[in-house]
Each structure stands twice: as structure tokens, then as C-alpha cells.
């Protein structure tokens, strides 16, 4: 095979491989429904007439139902957009890494099998060039290291924003009107953006600095409690049963329950709440299920194991798992 021919054909191979890579290496399964079609269906929930319908709807129970529909529709639209955004970023990173690998392998293979020193040399040079290009691309930390960290941050911030919305939707329309939900939806939207993730990472870094500072001295809490006088051991089995139920909560359920029970305990014993909140100075309980469950177990322990407490916790868990 003449070396001149290879010199002319090789760039075409390269372009074909790279183009193919851009289309296929997303790492995500295809959507069942075309994302654009679903977004079109959700569009009315973003338009002014829907807001007017909401304002005009009476009674309150109907307005609340419509509020929930609008909020969930918008969240769904943001979820679709976020997945597409994530896919696009992953595809870009994947295409860069995999197509250069494949192209380099193909060129190396050809150089070993074709005859003629000129052709071998041309293919080896081309293969080396491709790997060299990959070396440069791999130095791009954005795709190699930063992107997964940003995805993790975006997912965590989106979950946190989602909890705020879900908690709000548990309230009456008068307490959590649509326009208030829009503020939380805006947070949800920006949580799924690169600037939002970067800002979150910067804030976390600040929190970690504070965290390190607080390691120097531990907080000492002294209190003269009388609650134990009512603990005759009978409530112990119920506390165990509630603890077991806390352990079976999903991440979202546990995070939602933290907010509810924190508010409940604040009404009964602000001092105990302050103490328990000190167990989680970086507010991990609003983001991570495992932290939320541990926080709940400790919160429960700092309450009197009375029949009233047991009922309050049982009811709250029942609501959380509905």
C-alpha cells in the first residue's frame, strides 16, 4: 500500500472516529420518550395563563392541588434539562478519551500489519500523534477530575433544594404559596448548574475551615435534667422500635423527617435541640440520608420516652413513609 495513499486517508479515519465517538459515548441509556416532546408538554406550566388560573382558583384545597401540579411539572422539566446537560458534558469527556484510544489502537495495529517501511513509519507517527494529543487532553483536569466532583456537588445541592420544596408542598397553600415555591424552584434549577456547583464547593471549603477550627475545642454542655425520672424502662422497647423504623427510612424520607422533628423538638426543648444540632455543625443531615438517620436517632434519645413522645414520633414516621 503506497505511503502517499495512507497520508491522504488517515485524516479521514481520524475525523470519522471522532465524529462517531461524539455521538455514542454518553454513558447513559436513551430516554424512552424524546426529552423535547416531554418538555413541550410541560411548557404550559411555565406560562403566565397558568399563574392566573392558580390565582383565580378557589377553594384553597383546589389551589393547593394546582400549586403542587405546577411545582412538580417545573421540577420534572428541570430534571429533564439537567439529565440532558449531564449527558452532554459526559459525552464530551467520553468522546475525547475513548475515540483517541480507539484511533491510536487502530493506527498501531495497522502499522504492525501493513507492508513497506514508509507506510509503517507513517502509521506509527500518526498513532503517536494521536496518543500525544490524548496526553494533552488528559491534562485537562476539568474532564478528568473536576467534572465528577461537580456532578456530585450538583446532585447533593439538587437533593437539598428538593427537600425544601417537598417540605413546602406538605404545607397549606397559604403557608407555602406558589410564588414562594418559585424561589425554591430557582434554587433547585441553579443547583444543577456548573456555577451553582462551584459556588457550593467554595462554600463547603469555607465550612470545612470552620470545621477544622472547631476541632480545637469541644463544646461542653451542662444541664440538670429531670426527664430520666419518668424513664421506668417501659418506654425503652418503644424507643427501640422507633429506632428500627428510622433505620429503614429512605434518604429522602429521613431528610424530610429531620426537618419535621427538629421543629417539633424546638417547641418542647430548645436547649436539647441546640445540643443535638451541635452534633452536626455542617448540616450534613439535610443532604445525606445516613447523617439524617443518625441525627434522628440522637434526637429521639434526647426526648423523654413518654407515651406522648412515642406517639408523636410514630405519627411523624407514618407521615414520612406515606
Amino acid at each position: 500500500m503506497p505511503a502517499g495513499f495512507l497520508h491522504r486517508v488517515l485524516p479521514l479515519f481520524a475525523v470519522a472516529f471522532l465524529a462517531a465517538g461524539c455521538a455514542s459515548f454518553t454513558g447513559y441509556p436513551d430516554s424512552v420518550v424524546e426529552p423535547g416532546d416531554e418538555l413541550t408538554q410541560l411548557k404550559p406550566y411555565f406560562l403566565p395563563p397558568m399563574l392566573k388560573t392558580y390565582d383565580d382558583t378557589v377553594p384553597e384545597t383546589d389551589r393547593r392541588k394546582l400549586r403542587d401540579q405546577i411545582v412538580y411539572a417545573r421540577m420534572r422539566a428541570y430534571d429533564i434539562q439537567f439529565r440532558e446537560f449531564e449527558k452532554a458534558l459526559t459525552a464530551q469527556a467520553g468522546a475525547t478519551a475513548l475515540t483517541t484510544d480507539l484511533l491510536a489502537l487502530t493506527l498501531s495495529g495497522l502499522s504492525a500489519t501493513v507492508g513497506g517501511e514508509g507506510a509503517k513509519s507513517a502509521l506509527s507517527v500518526a498513532s503517536g500523534g494521536v496518543l500525544g494529543a490524548k496526553g494533552n487532553i488528559n491534562k485537562d483536569l476539568f474532564y478528568e477530575k473536576t467534572l465528577p466532583a461537580l456532578f456530585t456537588q450538583m446532585e447533593a445541592q439538587r437533593l437539598k433544594a428538593r427537600v425544601a420544596i417537598e417540605t413546602g408542598l406538605g404545607m397549606a397553600d397559604a403557608d407555602y404559596p406558589l410564588r414562594k415555591a418559585f424561589i425554591d424552584l430557582e434554587t433547585y434549577l441553579s443547583a444543577g448548574s456548573l456555577p451553582g456547583a462551584l459556588s457550593g464547593i467554595t462554600q463547603d471549603a469555607g465550612t470545612k475551615t470552620k470545621d477544622a477550627e472547631s476541632e480545637i475545642q469541644s463544646i461542653r454542655v451542662s444541664r440538670d435534667a429531670t426527664r430520666i425520672q419518668g424513664d421506668d424502662g417501659k418506654g425503652e422497647a418503644s424507643v427501640e422500635a422507633i429506632t428500627a423504623r428510622i433505620d429503614t427510612l429512605t434518604d429522602l424520607q429521613a431528610i424530610g423527617l429531620v426537618k419535621v422533628m427538629e421543629a417539633e423538638v424546638a417547641k418542647l426543648s430548645p436547649d436539647d435541640l441546640k445540643l443535638v444540632q451541635g452534633f452536626d455543625t455542617t448540616n450534613k443531615r439535610y443532604t445525606y440520608g445516613v447523617s439524617a438517620r443518625e441525627f434522628l436517632r440522637r434526637l429521639l434519645l434526647h426526648e423523654d420516652p413518654t407515651a406522648e413522645t412515642i406517639k408523636r414520633w410514630t405519627d411523624a414516621i407514618d407521615n414520612a413513609v406515606k
Binding site: 476541632e215 463544646i219 435534667a225 429531670t226 455543625t281 450534613k284 440522637r298
Partner: protein, 55 residues
């Protein structure tokens, strides 16, 4: 990791040793790094060291 030390005092006149031991066991089960029961003659003193919640 930051820790919190919680010191609780309970009057010995009204709180039994069993009740205090139960409380200590619960705290240890819930993730306390240490939980020590002592007394000063009049009061039970329960000293508990809590780590930050896990992630």
C-alpha cells in the same frame, strides 16, 4: 472531627442506678464515642462524648 461533650447531672435521691445505666447504654448504641457514669455523692454525673454525625 469536632466533638461535643455532654454532661448531665441527675439527683441520686430520685434516679436509680439502673435508669442511669440504661441511658448510658442507649447513648453508646446511638454512636457516642464514650459515656461514663460517675457520682459526686448527691448526683449522678453522665459524661458523654459525641462525634459529628456520619456521612
Amino acid at each position: 472531627m469536632p466533638t461535643q461533650t455532654e454532661v448531665e447531672t441527675y439527683p441520686k435521691a430520685t434516679v436509680t442506678n439502673d435508669q442511669m445505666n440504661r441511658r448510658r447504654d442507649r447513648y453508646l448504641k446511638a454512636g457516642a464515642s464514650s459515656c461514663t457514669l460517675t457520682d459526686d455523692g448527691t448526683n449522678w454525673i453522665l459524661t458523654t462524648v459525641w462525634p459529628e454525625v456520619a456521612t
